[in-house]
Amino acid sequence: MKYKKLLIILFSVLYITNLFSQDKYWVCFTDKKDSKFNPFTYFDVKAIERRIKNNISLYDSTDFPLNNNYISKVSEVSEEITSETRWFNAVAVWAYPDQIEKIKQLSFVKQVIPIYYQSVLAEIKTKDNPKKYDETILSGQTERMEMSIFEKHNITGKGLRIAIFDGGFPTVDVNPAFEHIRKEKRIIKTYDFTKKKEFVYSYVSHGTNVLSCIAGIIDGKKIGMAVDAEFLLARTEIVREPFSEEENWLAAVEWADKNGADVINSSLGYTHQRYFYRDMDGKTCFVTRAANLAAAKGIFVVNAAGNEGSGKWKFIGAPADADSALSIGGINPATDYHTSFSSYGPTFDKRMKPNVCAYGHVVAAGKNGLHETQGTSFASPLVAGFVACAWQTNRSLNNMELFNEIQKSADLYPYYDYAHGFGVPQASFFFDKEKKELEPSFSFVEEENNLIIMINKDMIDSTGNNYLFYHIENEEGILDYYTLIDVYQERAAIISLSDLKGNKTIRAHYKKYTAEFELSKN
């Protein structure tokens, strides 16, 4: 009697254990034998143009369809096939452990990879108060990147096609902020990858906010910079915060490529729910690899750095760790430097991230008009709009050339750190390439075993910000330390050289001027 009950409990536990054990996997195939592909029927004309421009073959095997026999054989031994990816030659399946063991034995199966899900949209919170928003933020979010210079040259993102991956786009089909886009039929395609249908104008308004930060106009005021761009709207996220699947992201990126996207804006990140920081190495996460593959096909990928800066995770998420994705950090409009929630770099393999930054507190168009909201989710589309405009200034650049130009245009360049990247991109860079000689705003002075950063007295503003950035870079080009100081005196910083080991570069930036000091200890 006593042990009978124990057995019942044990069996109950084992039953529940079994319930837990069904999981989702990518099943990657060895080849695409016998698959037929016609790029002229598969691709949008813009996708073909992009390939030709970037010298990418129209018959790249990553674009070929999967082998149908392989799919049907996997289907026979799994619970369900939910999607497929041409780029990775794989299908997403639900399967029990015994089924996945059988799948692994199939001769055409190259690899089985567990699917990670639970992404987080990089939004902090929304104050949905249509009447109250800060006009200075609205004008500042674009002007901080010198939108007026683009406007002066009539640059508005025209001819560029931007794909947005998000959780929904409610009211975009009726909202006055997007009337100019609808009127010119510049929403080229929409697709809801979570429900496998075209309608996306519902669900969470995060995507509406994001679109407005790229191209919204309300009462004649521009919310974003690329107001004349074309759009592909993909719903890839199921709810506002967690629980989504990277397979939607992957499907959407292939869809965006097929439909001729020039730029992809993605405001989500995969972090601690499914990954460790060690996975943020630019090659482990599937979405990161997909972002790099999209870049290899000539698409400019812009991704939010994430909002983990003040959380336990702290660092950027995937796919912001992709080396070919422009990762966007957030600054606070009130202070004009890193906003606390914006995720930090570097990547686990010590590459600089984020690449650049923009306002992380913005005014965006939502379901009920303009409102203030915050998150690197919105810094990312502000930069995506900037990217479209910058590309319009020189369409002969390929995506990675433009990537480098955007970094160079940023206001801290060549200085960088892992909170701001190279700083905020500046439109003036694309019209005034001649490097002006800047008057040094500071100098390095060696005193015994110390290095003093001496600020020019005339350049200390008694009313405004006096931000001195400096970092210590090791011989591998990795930062050991970086800081930002609001300066009130000439002797702004004292660095003890005796504490530093090995060869170091101390680089500082003050009032647009960057200089470096080489310390050799060999």
């Binding site: 124990l6 536990v13 254990t17 837990f20 601690h272 892992y418 970086y482 100081i485 609001d486 009130y488």
Partner: protein, 245 residues
């Protein structure tokens, strides 16, 4: 005195005037040292609270329980050592209180046949547990979905038998209600042991604790036939635990 004050004011003013404000400072080398302590890292420990109910019948006759009122409450410190992403071993130390509310029936014999308004037996344990954890699903630095198989041993730090009587007329002390607490209960064992199963999703856990050892001493169960033997107390508690992490 005035001079000193003036010097102080000047000192304060000048220090404000010339102070630098560090707005951001990151020690990257220190920051990126791989951590080993975390929910899904090599080592982890956390506190937890437990509250549950009795879910079993007594063995023998002469004792019935009031189930909604018979409960357990516990606080523990749980340590987890990660072997792989799917397997962990660990221990926990805990204090738990088991409360058995006794139904006042005509055939009640435990611990006597006197009926009261309210009667309960409370057992306080200090325990140690060793467990094996199987995790399911992929996750980052999270506890995730898991099943624990555990064995526990408890030392009974205290026990009390409490009764409440409401009198028809006041007693010799001119009181209408009498609360009685009996301690040093000689019919209880000093230690007990058993097994546990837990099913958890991150901090939320359902735990089933089954006592294999008897709580009532043998000589109170196997008494001479002339005296009614004590029944064994119920063995199973089903509890909800919440991990603090």
């Amino acid at each position: 005195m005035k001079k000193l004050l003036a010097v102080l004011i000047v000192a304060l003013f000048s220090s404000t005037l010339f102070s630098q404000v560090v707005l951001l400072e990151e020690d990257v080398a220190g920051d990126t040292i791989p951590e080993t302590f975390g929910p899904n890292l090599k080592n982890y420990r956390h506190l937890y609270f437990e509250y549950g109910f009795l879910a079993d019948k007594p063995e023998g006759t002469g004792l019935e329980m009031l189930y909604g009122h018979s409960h357990n409450f516990g606080i523990g410190l749980r340590y987890k050592y990660r072997m792989t992403n799917f397997l962990a071993l660990g221990w926990d130390i805990h204090i738990t209180e088991w409360t058995y509310r006794i139904k006042q029936t005509d055939d009640k014999v435990f611990p006597n046949n006197i009926k009261h308004k309210k009667e309960k037996l409370t057992v306080n344990n200090l325990g140690l547990e060793f467990y094996t954890r199987l995790n399911f699903g992929k996750r980052g630095n999270h506890i995730g979905n898991f099943v624990d198989f555990a064995a526990f041993g408890n030392y009974i730090t205290g026990a009390s038998h409490y009764t409440l009587d409401v009198l028809d007329t006041v007693n010799v002390n001119n009181a209408g209600r009498v609360h009685t607490t009996n301690k040093d209960l000689i019919y209880l064992e000093n230690i007990n042991y058993g097994v546990k199963f837990r099913i958890g999703i991150n901090r939320y856990i359902i735990s089933a604790s089954y006592r294999l050892s008897d709580l009532i001493k043998d000589n109170f169960v196997d008494l001479p036939e002339a005296i009614v033997p004590y029944p064994e107390l119920p063995r199973l508690f089903i509890a909800f635990q919440i991990g603090i992490h």
